[in-house]
């Protein structure tokens, strides 16, 4: 079986619109959450989020009418990842794209509904369908870079990006491609997107405080993470710089409640990822948690981690307190946080932490980043619908 490595990464999120800026923000423990600024935000109960601010991307202006924000984020992150990997395209059928998104072009849905329902217009732009389809970000990356192999979108709510990366890993292992662009993109911060989440009563009005006493829920974020997964032999043959190994992937389903998490399902996914990576629990020096900051997730995930790792687990942090919960993209941004640990020896902190919750894990690297030599990490994602997807990364 071919080993798979990461040769490039790119991101757009509320902290920064590139990897160096995001790494710096993680190391400083900066918070990207602030007041929502989109149209009609004043009609919401929850008025904070991790928006991508000052967004003026340098994309082909003639193509912009085709690009919902969810696609724009993916294209900018994808360009950074491809440049870092030293790839210009031309991979043909040996290259592919698998990207996660939960809501796709929700902003385009909203604008179109607003036009016909609220403003009484009788028609919408002819480009509405290609803008809003979930596979638009993956397809546009495929078009721009000439990737003609496996290209598709994956939608599994908050686990979309981890599922996408897991499937990309499997494509290369199976010999279906040499290079896969993968990760996720999300642009849910619009009136309808937040209004829908408000109904579940799980959004925090003030801050995201994962694993902390005083936490009041999650905060939605926008953004994208795109990673270049590449067969190790292919990367070495062209002399590419290798950032880390994509060592394993595990996915399970709770087959229980549609929203309430089950620690057993989460634990099984972590164990499956470790087994797939041939990695011992003692090898893992850092876990990037799902860590949404909800009462239910943080308790359930803590129990699952203790079940897998025993009473003294490695440091676990949730970077969502910084970049928000980027839903279908979040796993990709968090994989990049794992690479900060693996390549720079910095554990990104769990910020906005007030006091340890005795029902949660104790070492969550509160508020301040920590230096640590890490040779392996896990990255958790657990979705509504009872879907669990965990990736294991290893230093090269």
């Amino acid at each position: 079986m071919r080993r798979v490595v990461i040769t490039g990464i790119g991101t757009v999120n509320s902290l920064a619109q590139d990897v160096p800026g995001t790494f710096a923000a993680f190391a400083e423990g900066r918070c990207g959450i602030g007041p929502l600024t989109f149209r009609d935000a004043d009609r919401l109960t929850i008025r904070i989020g991790a928006e991508v601010r000052h967004w003026t991307p340098t994309l082909d202006p003639s193509r912009m009418p085709l690009y919902d924000r969810v696609t724009q984020y993916a294209l900018v992150a994808g360009a950074e990842a491809m440049a870092m990997a030293g790839l210009e395209g031309g991979l043909g059928v040996r290259g592919g794209v698998i990207l996660g998104t939960a809501a796709g072009g929700i902003g385009t849905w909203e604008d179109s509904y607003r036009a016909v329902f609220a403003e009484g217009k009788s028609r919408v732009s002819p480009l509405v369908v290609p803008r809003l389809m979930h596979n638009a970000p993956a397809s546009h990356l495929s078009i721009i870079y000439g990737l003609q192999g496996p290209v598709l979108s994956v939608s599994s709510a908050c686990a979309s990006a981890n599922h996408a990366m897991g499937l990309a890993l499997q494509q290369i292992r199976a010999g279906a491609a040499d290079v896969m662009l993968t990760g996720g993109s999300e642009a849910m911060l619009c009136f309808g997107g937040v209004k829908a989440w408000e109904g579940l009563r799980v959004l925090a009005p003030d801050a995201c405080r994962p694993f902390s006493l005083g936490r009041k829920g999650m905060v939605i974020g926008d953004g994208a993470g795109v990673l270049v997964f590449e067969a190790e032999d292919h990367a070495r043959a062209r002399g590419a710089t290798i950032l880390a190994e994509v060592a394993g992937f595990g996915m399970t389903a709770d087959a229980g409640d549609i929203v309430a998490p089950d620690p057993e399902g989460a634990a099984r996914a972590m164990q499956a990822a470790l087994a797939d990576a041939v990695m011992a629990t003692g090898d893992v020096g850092y876990v990037n948690a799902h860590g949404t900051g909800t009462l239910a997730n943080d308790r359930s995930e803590s129990a699952a981690i203790l079940q897998v790792f025993g009473p003294a687990p490695p440091p676990v942090t949730s970077t969502k307190a910084m970049h928000g919960h980027a839903i279908g993209a979040t796993g990709a941004v968090e994989a990049i946080a794992c690479l900060l640990a693996l390549t720079k020896g910095i554990l990104p902190p769990t910020i906005c932490h007030q006091a340890a919750d005795p029902d949660c894990l104790l070492d969550v690297v509160p508020n301040v980043a920590r230096a640590a030599q890490v040779t392996a990490t896990l990255s958790n994602a657990f979705a509504f619908g009872g879907l669990n997807a965990v990736l294991a990364f290893r230093a090269i």
């Binding site: 009563r201 799980v202 925090a204 936490r215 829920g217 409640d257 009462l295």
Partner: protein, 87 residues
């Protein structure tokens, strides 16, 4: 007014629990009725719509006293208070 609110609360709970309203006592404990967390959120939403109120409830702070949801009388009291505050 209180009787109307109580009838509405019981009717809303009954719709969520797929029970006849007659099977929900006016002093029933919500936990004993077997309402799950989504049912609770849907019940709160239905009461908000019916009475044009905003019920302060966050699923992450079940112990906060913003709105007591333990029994039918608790809910009736809470709704009555919010209606009074609205006017």
């Amino acid at each position: 007014m209180r009787a109307e609110i109580e009838a509405a609360v019981i009717e809303t709970l009954a719709a969520q629990l797929l029970l006849p309203a007659s099977e929900i006592a006016s002093d029933a404990r919500i936990e004993d009725l077997g309402l799950d967390s989504l049912g609770k959120v849907e019940t709160i939403f239905a009461l908000e719509e019916r009475f044009e109120i905003l019920i302060p409830f966050n699923a992450n702070e079940p112990d906060l006293p913003g709105f007591e949801f333990a029994t039918v009388p608790d809910i009736v009291d809470g709704v009555a208070r919010l209606i009074a505050e609205r006017t």
